[in-house]
Each structure stands twice: as C-alpha cells, then as structure tokens.
Symmetry: C2
DNA sequence: ACAGCCGTATCGGTCGTATAATACAGTTGA
DNA sequence: TCAACTGTATTATACGACCGATACGGCTGT
C-alpha cells in the first residue's frame, strides 16, 4: 500500500503536481514496488483534505504515463516495469539538480561554496 | 539600469513571482547596486510580452519589502542597504538548497552520490 | 445477492493569475 | 511650457486550479 505519511502540501505548485511528484519519488526511492495498491481517490482526498477531483487529475496523468493501472470499480495498482525505477530516479535527479545548479550560478555562488553550505544543510536536516 | 536580458519566462510558477525572484537574484549576484534604475512597468511589460498589471504586482511587492523605491511620476530605483545583498543571498541560497536537499533525500540518494552527480552537472553546464 | 466500496463523470461555484482597455496625476527633459 | 514619459488606479474578461455535491455503473467481500 502506497503511503502518504510524511507527505505535506506546500510550495506554490498545483496540488495535483505535488501528488504526482510524490508517487514518482517513492518509486525512485524504492519504497513502492510493482503491483502495489494506491489509496483510492476518496480515501486520499479525505486524508489530505483536498477535493477528490484533484486526486483524480493526478492519478489520471500517472495512468497516462503508465505508472499506475486503474480498472473501473476496483482499486488502482502501481505498474513498475523493470528499469522504470532507475529511469524515474534519473529523471527526477537530473531535473532537480539542474534547477539547483542553475539557481546557484545565478546567485553567483562558486561550486566549492555551494557544496560546503549544502553539506551543512544536508546534515542539519536530520531531525 | 537593471537588465532582463537573459531572463526567460518558464517553469510553472506565477510570472510575478519569477520577476521578483529575478530581481533578487541579480541583487544577490551583485549585478544590481543601490540607486539603480529598473525598467518602467510599461517597458518591461512590452519586453516580456506580459500585462503591465502583472509587472506592477511584482514591483509592488518588491517595494513593500523595501527592495525598490517608487515615486509617482518618476522612474523607480533599487534600494539596497549595506547588508541587504548578503541577506538576500543567504535567503535565496537557503531556500533553494533546502528544497534540493529535501528532494534528494526523498529520492533516497546519499549525500556522496548526490554531490558527485551534482558536480558533473555543474561542470557540464559550461556552455 | 447485495451493501459498500471502487473509478468515472458532470455541474456549478470560488479564487488567484493574467489579460485588456482606459484614465489621471506627477516627473522630467528638451 | 508642454509633450512624453512615469506610477497608480479602475473596470471588465478569461482561464486554470480547486472545491462541493451528486450521480452512475463496475468490482468485491460477506
């Protein structure tokens, strides 16, 4: 069963994108395997306090990408091919890191400085 | 004169936030000093191809934060105190890096792995 | 079989973002 | 002085994201 335990709504991105992102992150991290149940639209809607339609929008896109499988009436499952994990992992890593590197360069921060300070933040967030 | 040369609209964040971000980045990078002119609402509107009201919204917020000064009728100027550069620099750095570190941890990437791959991306983007 | 879930679909409404057109008063420079 | 800019404000319109409610048919366990 796919978990949404430490998932919190935030940032200024649309909710449905945050949900898609969360599912992909869990897959990339290996926390979600093939043929695992994901929460129903209504259940996740109640858990997160958002509208069922918003969940449906996220799930619909994930289904179009082949990440989950839905059968009308039955609960939805994940569909993780061999290699999918590594593919998504690389996709998300490159996406995030490119954005970070670009931002750092625009701030005029050197690589050494960025890495030193990033290390501090990495260690600090161990709560 | 504050430049918007290599500024491009993108991402999925509101335009006015992207503009605010750009100004702050330029200040953090030291590319913008105190008492520098910033493009008029109409001029930047035409340059970026967005509505003047959208520019006004961004400028209004920047003025509330004390980053720019506007006098009705005259052109607007930046207002960069001693220490403002370092303040904004730290603010943006912490914001971006926290987001990146959080994303990396959720992907299940170790610090060593993240830094090694990030270094590759950092060096690769030297075009 | 049948109650209780499930996915799916549709309607109407709110809110934030962004657009479009227009207006007016203050400044600035030739 | 005065034209051409400036900041500021108003009104109306549009669209996507999200909410709330409701509905219908398909699956599933008891």
């Amino acid at each position: 069963m796919v978990s949404f335990e430490d998932f919190i709504l935030g940032e200024d991105r649309p909710i449905y994108l945050q949900i898609i992102r969360h599912i992909k992150q869990e897959i990339a991290a290996g926390a979600i395997e093939d043929r695992e149940e994901i929460p129903s639209r209504r259940a996740l809607s109640a858990l997160l306090g958002v509208n069922p339609n918003t969940i449906q929008k996220a799930y619909r896109i994930l289904e179009d990408e082949g990440v989950i499988v839905s059968r009308s009436g039955a609960i939805s499952y994940t569909h993780v091919d061999a290699g999918t994990v590594e593919r998504i992992r690389r996709e998300l890593f490159a996406e995030d890191t490119k954005a970070w590197v670009t931002a750092m360069k625009r701030l005029g921060v050197s690589r050494e400085e960025a890495f030193v300070l990033a290390k501090d933040i990495w260690e600090a967030e161990r709560e």
